[in-house]
Symmetry: C2
Subunit: 227 residues, 2 copies
């Protein structure tokens, strides 16, 4: 039994480490964009590999633990949750890497301060949510997970306003359509981090309670373009 | 042992069914876009729920089978692969639903035939790959999975050319930036179906061989904007 507890706690610490890395990558990806820092952008791309490595390690451990320990009930839920959460965090890493690659393509371009503020608000919102859901995971706190799950709306609202700005820029600044396209996909990536965070919240809720959250959150009906 | 084989074959048939649904949704989402068919678009949105339901069912079965049967080695790989593949297919359903929702926002707009041809080529390419990987799954054919995994480049190349077209349209047709934005994200969604297909190919390969494919496929260095 002792060895099984050890197995689970290693799995746990790998997930927590992955969460920390994912947060750092998203934060740095935005900083690289905001300060047009090519070196930091390259660094984000490089560090994404670390997340992929932990994901592989988690998957190997999950197979080994199930085969060796025949876990049931909450133990099994912990193990499957680790697998699924590591998958979500790997995608957060990918999205951050993608922002960093786009940053490398638009280095030195002047960005409208209002747009940058919008993107910063999105990033801060996404990071807060991600941090809170990883805390909920570490604390096995279903109530906190539920709170994160309900709060994704705020990020969506910021995304909608950034998007409206970007459409306006594109419409009036034809030569820079390429730049704004990168920013659009960048904004979309941050919004998708919010979706992965919501998925993690569902995993944490199930892990703790054994009950599923409804898969469709109530979505605020949002204006026009973004989907 | 008989009951265990039954468990696995139900899991299998659920995955195959999900694959068929995902293909149908993507195909119909494109048809709705191409023929400006609002009813078909609504139908795609509605049917995506069926995929979500099968995903939940698969997850429940996976928990039950592991807890009851203590599977090991290839049996365990089959069960975990089913869980992971159902997750990828659920996302293909989401992406198709997203295309259908965007279609509802641009109903009746005239689309440049050349753009439509590009999007149709992407859809056909994505559907072929998805169909082949689901065949590889059904046949437990690692070679076929590897072939799908290597072929994602073709879809990426079509995506790049569609994207260049869209950027040109946006640059010269400012009032319709909103329309082209929807098409850009639509094209990106189809490209992402390709990524999920590649992930499924990795799952099938591991399920059959017990070995991992390298996680970074060799990517053709592509032109400018798309990432």
């Amino acid at each position: 039994v002792r060895a099984f507890t050890d197995d689970l706690s290693v799995l746990d610490s790998q997930i927590v480490k992955m969460g920390g890395l994912a947060e750092a990558l998203l934060g740095d990806a935005f900083d690289a964009l905001a300060s047009s820092d090519g070196q930091l952008a390259r660094d984000v791309v490089r560090r994404d590999v670390l997340i992929d490595e932990i994901e592989s390690d988690v998957e190997e451990r999950v197979y080994a633990i199930i085969a060796r320990r025949q876990p049931m009930a909450v133990d099994l839920r912990q193990i499957i949750a680790a697998l699924q959460i590591s998958n979500e965090l790997e995608r957060v890493g990918d999205l951050s890497k993608n922002i960093a690659k786009r940053t490398q393509d638009i280095l030195g371009k002047d960005l409208d301060p209002r747009l940058l503020t919008g993107l910063r608000n999105m990033t801060t919102g996404a990071l807060t949510q991600l941090h809170e859901v990883m805390d909920a995971y570490a604390d096995r706190d279903a109530t906190a997970a539920l709170r994160v799950w309900r709060d994704d709306d705020t990020l969506d609202a910021t995304y909608n306003s950034v998007f409206a700005d970007l459409i306006a820029h594109m419409t009036h600044d034809a030569p820079d359509v390429g730049l704004y396209t990168h920013l659009m996909f960048g904004a979309k990536n941050i919004e998708r981090v919010g979706d992965h965070t919501t998925n993690i919240a569902e995993n944490v809720f199930f892990l703790v309670t054994g009950n599923r959250l409804e898969s469709d959150r109530p979505k605020r009906n949002c204006v026009t373009i973004p989907r």
